[in-house]
Symmetry: C2
Subunit: 453 residues, 2 copies
């Protein structure tokens, strides 16, 4: 496992070699880097910002210990002067950021980092990693939650997330995005997220008869029983659940739900509902799981599936159809000895906008999002400023909102994004303009660089 005290080395080697060369060549300017996503992945029409808390804690605590220095020295490529510098390294920069839960779009900075170039450069890899995972998952999970229309969605993905850290962050990010909770017990403990879960097929199989497994379970959890009914034959399973639950109900307890985990969920849910109702169990819910994602949930509800809640696993937990965002961290300005040098690169298909920026959001008369403008910071523009200053001189200056609060923010923001931008496929393209100032600077710089090259 990765220990937080080792985060300083959780970086690409080139961050360290570049920093060694900045150090050796006395390149000491103040750099501004934008962290943003270049394009929308397939079927995505917006992003949900997440991962800021981890990013800020990383910057605040970034430190090289003796073991790290010893390891770097053993590579025999770094000079002692630079290694001594690293021993006393501290991040002293400023950060503007989109609050977690913000709806945003390509090219809008999620983080804007201003610091001496070595410090800002060194942070690149970790910041990208932290923002990428949680933003990817929060975005995916928000789609699942929207598709489920008010019905609770529970994160069931831990067994197939990409590692332990992802298991935790998926629980967090999907809760931010509106999930009702997670199956991940540790996430419940660490993040205070509600945890859910009852039984797997192995439990049913561990008893000679299916109904025995239900009776045994309800003896242990008389008021919290959800029976998994599809181990052998789903509808017979529902009938057995109804019978097995009689004793329970006679003793004043209530069956909470049954769970369907395979087969034609739309049709099975309707039949299961009839069996339950006929057996006087109309209070018992129907929980569905089994390779679900936003597309399948939308289809199930269109088909009139009688499902009260969804367990969604792998497809959400790895963001199966778009397992990463094309997130990048680009140098946009460098001021050296009083000389301000906005920068951009011209690599094919990878052109970047120069300068420190602010993002403005324009609302329509109902308060709904109409368009965004990416402008230079300080440029006069209408709209609500989305980037807030969250770190100054290496210290966190914002109050970290609770997960509940971030979850609320996400919900509010998504409610202001018109429906046409929230279709699961072929959604309308939200308008993001660049300001006059930004266009002017880009054109000017483009010309200067082309003359130079």
């Amino acid at each position: 496992m990765v220990d937080e005290k080792d985060f300083a080395l959780l970086t690409d080697l080139y961050e360290l070699t570049m920093c060694a060369s900045y150090f050796g060549n006395k390149v000491k300017g103040i750099a501004a880097f934008d962290l943003f996503i270049r394009d929308l992945p397939q079927n995505r029409s917006y992003f949900i910002a997440a991962g800021l808390e981890d990013a800020l804690n990383y910057l605040k605590n970034l430190k090289f210990n003796d073991e790290h220095i010893k390891f770097l020295k053993s590579k025999k490529i770094f000079k002692d002067g630079f290694l001594n510098y690293l021993k006393n390294f501290k991040f002293t920069g400023d950060v503007f950021a989109l609050p977690e839960g913000t709806v945003f779009f390509p090219n809008e900075p999620i983080l804007s980092v201003t610091a001496p170039i070595i410090e800002a450069q060194l942070a690149e890899t970790f910041l990208l990693n932290a923002i990428n995972l949680q933003t990817t998952i929060a975005t995916k999970a928000s789609r699942v939650v929207l598709a489920a229309k008010q019905k609770p969605v529970v994160d069931f993905s831990l067994r197939r997330t990409q590692g332990a850290d992802a298991g935790m962050k998926v629980a967090r990010a999907s809760y931010i995005a509106g999930c009702a909770g997670t199956s991940n017990v540790l996430a419940g403990m660490k993040y205070k997220i509600p945890v859910y879960g009852t039984m797997a097929h192995s439990f049913v199989m561990a008893f000679e008869k299916e109904e025995e497994s239900f009776e045994a379970y309800s003896k242990t959890f008389p008021d919290a029983s959800t029976f998994l009914v599809d181990t052998y034959d789903t509808l017979k399973g529902v009938e057995k659940a109804a019978v097995a639950t009689k004793k329970l109900e006679n003793q004043g307890h209530k069956l909470k739900a049954i769970r369907l985990d395979s087969g034609d969920l739309a049709s099975l849910s309707k039949s299961a509902r009839r069996i339950l109702d006929k057996s006087g169990l109309s209070h018992a819910g129907i929980f569905a799981s089994g390779s679900l994602d936003e597309y399948k949930i939308e289809e199930l509800l269109k088909k009139g599936a009688v499902i009260d809640a969804f367990g969604v696993g792998t497809a959400m937990g790895v963001s199966k159809d778009a397992p990463y965002c094309d997130v990048v961290y680009k140098l946009v300005e460098l001021s050296d000895h009083g000389r301000l040098l906005p920068t951009m690169k011209l690599s094919k298909g990878k052109v970047t906008y120069p300068g420190k920026k602010q993002v403005y959001r324009i609302a329509d008369k109902n308060g709904n999002y109409a368009k965004d403008i990416i402008a230079l910071r300080g440029e006069k523009t209408n709209g609500q400023q989305l980037l807030a200053k969250v770190m100054e001189k290496g210290e966190i200056i914002c109050k970290m909102p609770s997960l509940e609060k971030i979850r609320e923010t996400t919900k509010n923001n998504l409610s202001k994004l018109p429906e046409k931008y929230k279709q699961l496929k072929n959604a309308a393209s939200y308008k993001v303009e660049t300001s006059r100032g930004l266009i002017k600077l880009t054109l000017k710089l483009n010309k200067t660089i082309r003359e130079k090259v």
Copy 2:
């Protein structure tokens, strides 16, 4: 971050509720669970086993501490008797496993766990998570390495892996699969994997002129300079690299390589090669990166790209086209009070094979893999046994091989898998049979269960 001491709670809640009910109902049989992958993901034709070391360390050290017990108690669903049991929990079972680096196929057990049912059940979530990530990545990376045909591949994915843990495990699994190293410095320290990296576009942009950045870098790393040449105009960049390197070469140093990171890499590499050769830099290599994967590498080499090594990032690090394996953990046998009860489920599309198993591999006369047979353990069958006993009564009884050794195992195994099974797309389907004993048991059990249901 997830601390190893918290692994006991890194599990789905239902593992704990099931265990509580096994405990309450005195279900104490010895259970056998198979961990296997149901299907080949799209474009995959084999798997590379990885993640066993983590899995075994988890089982060996599994322990609930006071904080965990307190948290579980606070949920108000567990009885004190069960919580007391957890306080003294220890995994005491046996494990058979495919050694890391083994080539394997769907339905072949990767792990076979035999233990009192509570212990075996509790381990499910973590074991799936550990095996899934590393097996998914080792499999993907082996494809990239095969496509690169002898040319080194370096893992560049850390910035967009799904979290910190994945960043480490991707470096490990891709090294096992044959990558030459990683950009991840911490993986270099923890796993002793070679680390690689030189400069990013931001470094080039931090200097007023491109050539200044090259000169500055080579001053710091005179014998280890790889210049990134595509920040503004790739071929002009190569020319500048050649000029900037003159001084370096005159002082007896050598330019190591240039790196291309965008554009038409096949055509650019040929032009760059000509420029370098004309400038007396035929010793300098050409390193390519930029959204590469096995498909693009295969295409580049087909087009005659003059590339000496590849940096492969996100597509490999998240296994973009198949970001998980459909790995499951199924109860296959339960012996209770002397009564042996092989088990299987009949859920639609999710039928499992009962009984404890062994996998046999049959070679052709040249020693190449011809077919596998999944048999009952103890059943007489020809071929090499793939599953080895690695844990007995909760203790690891095998020597953990070094990463170098696992890497060698992978290479040897893949060399014995005929070419037709290693095509990137539309590969031939490797034959995996089930033994007579297994078929007989499956049919018998199917009948028994259908009569019961």
